[in-house]
Amino acid sequence: MRLTIPEQEIMSPGHLACQGCGGSLAMRYALKIFGKDTMLTIPACCWAVIDGPYPYTAVNVPLFHTAFETAAIMASGIKAGLEVQGNTSTNVIAWAGDGGTFDIGMQAISGAAERNDDITYIVYDNEAYMNTGIQRSSATPHGAWTTTTPVKHYKKGPKKNMVEIMAAHRIPYTATASVGYPEDLRKKLERAKNTKGFKFIHILAPCPTGWKTDPRYTVKLAKLAVQTNIFPLYEIEDGLHYKQNMKIKERKPIKEYFKYQGRFKHLPEDEVSYLQDQVDKNFEILSLKFE
């Protein structure tokens, strides 16, 4: 028997994630790598519900639910509380959705990154406010339908580049990852676990409910996002050294990725080709940074 990710399971089944939830897959991987000596703080996001209602929990590590905008600082506070009591080993993870990271949590994450607080910030990005019913966030990609960007008025303008923003803080470690590639994610989680200071991991976590997809395609889409260069896998050391983790020999057209998703169904041909152009340009610029 040869397993490519650790066999230990820390997260319990019975949790409240929708069928095929990319976010719950991400948590399962994160806990496998970080292990029992870990504490989580989770702001308002799907995971505030997924873990289960009072008096239950599914993560089997200490978890402090916190206010929407406070994931990063709550983790910093927890870490400080532990350290001052002599515990320097426990991993503290801020685990937030894209809304809590790209939008309302921006101030706290920037503060914690600038102080280089010794925490790991993981955003499981499902590209909208899914828990409140699929409203657009600044992580929603151009072209997508959400309940606040109806098809007649779909999201215009690019997704905020959170990774670049974090890299600009010159934090020790920044990485992108996808639930479609758990072996790559594993390496990044291990790297974060063994690095001092502020670590930021951006995990693409497809959401069947919000993306209007069949739950069976979550991993397929998480892979396609990478294979189309929509969501390239790379890591950045000290905000300066860019390394591509998965080279795509022949990138697939974004149409391949779009066709499984109801949220892009309304897009006219010219918009799709505009977006294809954008994806290619973005990747070209990014490629220049790879060492």
Binding site: G14, H15, G20, P55, A58, N60, P182, R216, T218, V219
Partner: protein
Amino acid sequence: MAIKFQKSDKPIKIEGAHDMPPMPAALGSMLFNKTGSWRNVRPVIDYDKCIKCFICWKFCPEPAIKIVDEKPVIDYDYCKGCLMCVEECPKDAINEELEGK
């Protein structure tokens, strides 16, 4: 004394405030919540075709696929029927069966 955390798959009995900690601190595991009832299609592993690559295990978001005697085994108490395992199986070794037939 803190109320002990119950690790079993049984629901927690709370009669009133005196059974509760001062703050909403969890007392038990979500294991009590048998999400298998959500499923309308059941993935069934055909062990004749299975090559034990554990890709199905790897991608189960619950996790509801266990490794038993070096084989992947679906725990139908918790499998929600997303069918990601069916989709990702490289040998088409997982079949779909409608529930309630």
